[in-house]
Subunit: 185 residues, 2 copies
């Protein structure tokens, strides 16, 4: 989105420092000048970006994962996804993660858009893709990665969203965008 | 979601420690036992939970905000939202934030569901509501809070999603769920 000049809204960086440099998370703390000239503190996760993809089988069913997500102590139903490696193109990440996690390659990739999952405390952007023309060649999970691959119909997934059984934001957003696009005249 | 026993997926906490305690962000690092018995490290933001709401005017238009989000250096179009205070009920948070940020009270609140914006590195859950029967009584922004209130039709917002101008995940998910519910037979 092109940001119009919004001096009544924009915050300007005064200083910036790393405050936590972990194995997974990297946090910065910035001091910013508010529109009224006062100072404030902002803390946020610096993230390399990510991808999520909807792998569509030739019969129309979608390839999804069941994966335990430790922060929430819960198994989630979610579309395949992953973080960009340094310098990696988002579509290359999508191809790599689809193969590693599900064992599928795809011949046709269509960009579905981008979402920002946590605009208040992370720089993360998630590029969304539709992957079609799937061939199963065998998964190559990273060491320490445990997940289950299942397939669900679009209507089945929508029913799971309505029942509160699919709550992962990237999966809900991508599914609803895809369902809307499919039902468009 | 009821988690079925999934010993082939579940990770078990071995130890847990706070590693960053900021003004806004609180990060923990846990050591976990993987399904194969090996150990791994998990880092994640501990979050009190949040709400997002779709305020629907009597003419059907939606009350939305334009707000600068510093981590992404960008003005976002988003539904009103906010974090739970300690011990606060989610619906009370929604009433409080709607009034503080937009100046509206609502007579009718309908729960739309819950989403988890970042299942890989945050405990955050966002309760979603529809707010109807709006009365404008005047905004009471917190000190240091700067935002602009506008109203948009559902179709206008969907067009902005399609154009990539609305990318905030909670707003995209809530809007599409609401649009789908409105168009359901």
């Amino acid at each position: 989105m092109n940001v119009p000049p919004d001096p009544h809204l924009v915050e300007v960086c005064v200083s910036s420092e790393p405050v936590f440099d972990g194995a997974l998370l990297h946090v910065r703390r910035d001091h910013v000048r508010l529109p009224d000239g006062k100072l404030a503190t902002r803390e946020y996760v610096v993230h390399p970006g990510a991808v999520v993809m909807i792998p569509v089988r030739d019969d129309g069913r979608l390839v999804v994962e069941r994966q335990y997500r430790y922060p929430l102590r819960q198994v989630f139903i979610e579309f395949p996804a992953g973080k960009l490696d340094a310098g990696e193109d988002a579509l290359d990440t999508a191809r790599r993660e689809l193969l590693e996690e599900t064992g599928y390659t795809a011949t046709t990739w269509t960009r579905l858009g981008v979402i920002h999952p946590v605009i208040s405390y992370s720089t993360e952007a998630i590029e969304m893709y539709i992957a079609q023309g799937l061939s199963h060649v065998g998964a190559r999970l990273d060491a320490g990665e445990f997940l289950e691959i299942i397939d669900l119909g679009v209507d089945e997934m929508l029913a799971l969203v309505d029942a509160g059984e699919i709550t992962d934001a990237k999966t809900v957003a991508a599914l609803l965008l895809y369902a809307r696009r499919c039902s468009a005249p």
